[in-house]
């Protein structure tokens, strides 16, 4: 009996370990690329002829700024699908010393004699960092993305909205995901095939 329990546990662990290794690999990729979703599939034709629907893109999110002409993937809070478009214009916002001082005063921070900031312990402080504002456009779209952004929003923010910029791609390799999500018959055929194959495999 004892052997049996261990055998079953070992068999179960094989399946679970395969799933968790895949998940961990994905997470490792995410951390290395600093992107919550380092691999995405193109869902729309708005970047044709550069990217077709179904292309798989590899993203990298560790560059401080993106350049005009880069293809970036961004995610707006009010939209559930990330968008792949090209950077049309960019504007770096680098705060001056005065602005930083003003910002720190607002938070109640003071300077000591050597003009270093006195940071009270156990208190979270915000830092005024340089940021970058971006305007994007799909290569295949007649106009820029302003209508896609939120109400009265004129740009997207590099740190807050970007998932990454495209560094590589495999053409059409992700088309299966589009088929699954858009073609209901394909989904059922696929599930049927999986069931059939499990019937005819071992035992």
């Amino acid at each position: 009996m004892k052997t049996n329990v261990r055998c079953n546990l070992l068999q179960l662990s094989n399946i679970l370990l395969a799933i968790s290794s895949a998940f961990m690999f994905w997470k490792t990729l995410s951390v290395v690329a600093n992107s919550p979703s380092p691999i995405v599939v193109v869902l729309s034709g708005s970047m044709e002829p550069a990217f077709q629907r179904g292309d798989i893109l590899f993203l990298w999110n560790r560059d401080k700024y993106v350049d005009v002409g880069d293809i970036v993937v961004y995610n707006m809070d009010h939209r559930d699908i990330p968008i792949v478009h090209r950077v049309l214009r960019e504007h770096k916002v680098i705060p001056t010393d005065e602005e930083i001082e003003k910002f720190n005063k607002k938070q109640g921070l003071k300077k000591d004699k050597n003009s270093n900031l006195k940071i009270p312990k156990n208190k979270k402080i915000k830092e005024l960092k340089p940021s970058q504002k971006i305007l994007t456009k799909g290569d295949n779209n007649p106009s820029d993305d302003l209508p896609l952004y939120g109400y009265k929003q004129m740009y997207i923010d590099r740190d807050n909205d970007l998932i990454g910029s495209v560094k590589g791609y495999i053409p059409l390799a992700g088309y299966v995901t589009i088929l699954i999500s858009e073609n209901i018959y394909f989904k059922y055929i696929l599930i049927g095939l999986i069931c059939l194959s499990s019937l005819f495999s071992n035992e």
């Binding site: 052997t3 261990r6 662990s13 961990m24 071992n202």
Partner: protein, 180 residues
Amino acid sequence: MVEGQKKINLNSVYDLKTNCDDNLSNFFESIGYSQDFHVIDIRLALTYTSIFLSALLFYLEKKFKNDFKNEEYYWYMIYVIASFYVISGINWIYIKFVEHNIKYMGKNEITGDKITVATIVEKKNIPPTYKITITLNDKDKKVSSKPFTELYEETGFLNYDLFKKFLNDDYIEVLNKKKN
């Protein structure tokens, strides 16, 4: 056909070997050994620790809504991923060098003898052979092999009597070595 034997697919060497490995404990139990599980227990513990770590990361992902700008979440992720790789590495080393094909470990309560059985398949031989290494008290060793075509009947059942005799001959030889 022996009672309690399963029908095995004769074309799958993996199944043939696994079935033989499963029957090792039957034989050694019949000659007074009780199985020692600590090798497999350590492996199970290591494997389930790494599974737990990935489940933990999945929970954290849901809790922090996968927000990479949250530094707390970011560092949690790095710690959990790093420990996952460390544990997986230890597990790999353990399977490769410590467990190393050991399929049965047992102890005889009366004589105090410790027995270790490691098995592999020699695939280069045609037909493939079942190679078995019996070690008594970590000293006396006996290696022998037998083709699966002899161990199994054409109907796909293990010829348990022959299997038993095969093991018994080896076991007696090891015992004799110990006495000398």
